[in-house]
Symmetry: C2
Subunit: 419 residues, 2 copies
């Protein structure tokens, strides 16, 4: 434990020193570094593929699933995509230094609220090695030092990638230690990281529910929670049925294994008899398994009966819970009770109910007549995404570059003192 603490403290100190040196580095220098990192990845593709092969072989021996092995795999195309990601980040505007508001007090003090880096960001993530490049690029763009802790399955890939990009960044004049990887698969490292308040300003866990819970419950450093979603679509009494159908198919089947996919469909009792038979048929054509409330089963008897558990479930799969509700209030009540405050949608033509839904649902993103699948940094036009925050502090919903900054007040005086 102590040896690990010493080792990580050293990394922390280097990261803190790097974060400090960022204050004197211009945007154009940072963009140049991002370009050099992209180039280096492509140029040293063979090294990455070789390291990745070791991880893949170890993964096969360990019996990782096909899906996990696929996520882990890097080839020429995927390496090119990672490089293109860095180039896209280079092209975005730099939020650091933006003065979002400036005002003058009666005593003449001029006060500005300026965006500045968070400092040192710790990212704890699982299988996919592209997160290494992605997170490093976004943090460098926002002048944050980063400490990466990837999954043990990808350790060789991550080690090689980090060596390549941190070397390229350093060659381009970035501070030494601004991109570091915790180069061990020892689980102790995570326990130590979670309590390094002296060195790390924010922790962002990216991965499954178990990882996120572990970080939230054990970290003493501020955490940005990401990625859990039990999302609902409510079809109102006078919804346009074709619109509802399209949105539901999209929200459930376009990519079911993500946090902004729909998990429960709520249907107004006044439209259920007309709407459900055809909707269920369309869903079943797409291999969606339906679990319905008793009223749903009266209308479409072939579906399985939903249990209380189904309302809580985030399937991340082609399964959908369906409940008939008597009105908007019951829909709101259901969302309040079972929702995870991620993304919620209403399909309606009624102005007043649309307004009420937007007003009364407490979630990161609330939609009228659109798919919940839009909750995403790229879809919102941020040009980047470090994750989707499901907490209320600091950042909520898709997090882009701005969410990797904090503010400081810069105050210009002429000798003012407080009376």
């Amino acid at each position: 434990m102590e040896a690990m603490q010493r080792k990580l403290s050293l990394m922390g100190e280097q990261a803190r020193a790097a974060a400090r040196r960022f204050a004197r580095i211009s945007s154009s220098k940072k963009n140049e570094a991002l370009q050099r990192m992209a180039q280096a990845l492509e140029k040293r593709e063979n090294e990455i593929v070789a390291a990745n092969r070791i991880d893949l072989q170890a993964g096969e021996l360990k019996g990782l699933s096909r899906a996990l092995l696929d996520r882990l795999m890097l080839d020429s195309h995927r390496i090119h995509e990672m490089a293109e990601g860095l180039r896209a980040v280079a092209a975005l505007p730099d939020p650091v230094g933006e003065v979002v508001r400036m005002w003058t007090r009666p005593n003449g003090l001029q006060i500005g609220k300026m965006r500045v880096p968070l400092g040192v960001i710790g990212i704890i993530y699982e299988a996919r090695p592209n997160v290494t490049v992605d997170a490093a690029g976004l943090c460098l763009k926002t002048s944050n030092a980063i400490i990466l802790r990837g999954g043990s399955e990808a350790i060789n890939s991550n080690r090689t990638i980090t060596a390549i990009i941190s070397q390229a960044a350093h060659d381009a004049g970035m501070p030494e230690g601004c991109i570091q990887l915790v180069d061990t698969t020892d689980r102790l490292a995570v326990d130590v990281l979670l309590r390094m308040n002296q060195y790390i300003d924010v922790l962002i866990p990216r991965g499954g529910a178990e990882l996120i819970q572990k970080v939230v419950l054990n970290a003493t450093i501020p955490v940005i929670e990401t990625g859990i979603g039990n999302c609902h679509v409510f079809v109102d009494e006078d919804a346009e049925m074709a619109v509802a159908e399209r949105i539901i198919l999209n929200a459930k089947t376009q990519r079911p294994a993500v946090c902004n996919a729909m998990e429960t469909l709520l249907v107004h009792a006044g439209i259920a008899r007309q709407f459900l038979p055809r909707m269920v048929q369309k869903l079943e054509e797409k291999q969606v398994e339906i679990r319905g409330c008793p009223i749903t089963r009266e209308i479409v008897p072939q579906v399985r009966l939903a249990t209380e558990n189904d309302w809580y479930e985030e399937y991340y799969d082609l399964i959908l819970a369906v409940r008939v509700v008597k009105d908007l209030d019951q829909a709101l009540e259901h969302i309040f009770q079972y929702g995870t405050k991620h993304s919620e949608a209403i399909v309606t033509r009624d102005y007043r109910r649309a307004r009420r839904f937007l007003q009364e649902v407490d979630a990161a993103a609330v939609y009228v007549n659109a798919s919940t699948r839009f909750t995403d940094g790229f879809q919102y036009g941020f040009g980047a995404e470090i994750g989707i925050s499901t907490q209320k502090l600091h950042a909520r919903g898709p997090m882009g570059l701005e969410e990797l900054t904090t503010i400081k007040y810069v105050v210009y005086g002429d000798g003012q003192i407080r009376e």
Copy 2:
């Protein structure tokens, strides 16, 4: 433990339900409630004074210091001030519902970023019973439910005050349970509160360093850290000496026991011999004890020698550490090493060094030619203050009403789906 958990869970459920009902309550209704709460405090002054007397007597028996007893004491004038505080909050603009940005995507989706309440806020605080009214008013104004946990010394005062204001709020149509006090002095209650993730969105500890550390290290709920400050003033080589003198006297002596008071003075070597003798004399006239570095003692030999510890110390008292530094870089290095990122000031006439100081110092507030004492919600023109955040996540520096809100994305579509 279990009984306490049940009791607090019940409070949490009520708070969550109240937070939800706030979504349908207008600003004007909330302002009316704040007025009614103010009236009720003044009308029922005698009850408050009587309850406060019990606390004061118990405090005397326990041997509380004069200063603590004074903080605890409520009289007609202080009750009137609390009521006026509520009226001032009523008069401020309501940040809830403000759409800070709205844009339209190429696919026609209209996306708005709207300020919404945080939900349920837990405040853990010490002696002063005025915090009860203050925090309850700010949370009500921002449609947040509040769970208050005050110090055991003020339990009777807090109980009476909470009964009065929550009754008045309820009479004015506010949701039941929107203002609740943890009505026990059992320390177990705090341990339970710190882990009530299911019910509480944010915890704000207000009080001494020990309380804040306890909350930061043990809470699983997001915390906003407040109030620790080791602030510096750096007098540059070509500072105007009269300006430096005025700022230093103000930053050190106007109110030494607060977090934005100066603790260490840094003086450029090029001006130290001219500047320090007179400055030290002026400070000593104000009863300030000086602890100087060796060079300082060469110039003003009567002062005590500072130890390494003094650079870390937050005295909150009429004591000042003084160090002569060879240039701006050494001043920046000192602030980086010993500072707590609260408030830092430079006194200079040099344009370039002013800009470098603003750019390179990482703190909630950075000043050129002004006193660090300005770091305050009222001084910044926010009209209110719930504390001064010394962390980087969510809020940094003085927190007004806006900092008691989060955002949600409201998205208007016409049937858009993700391709």
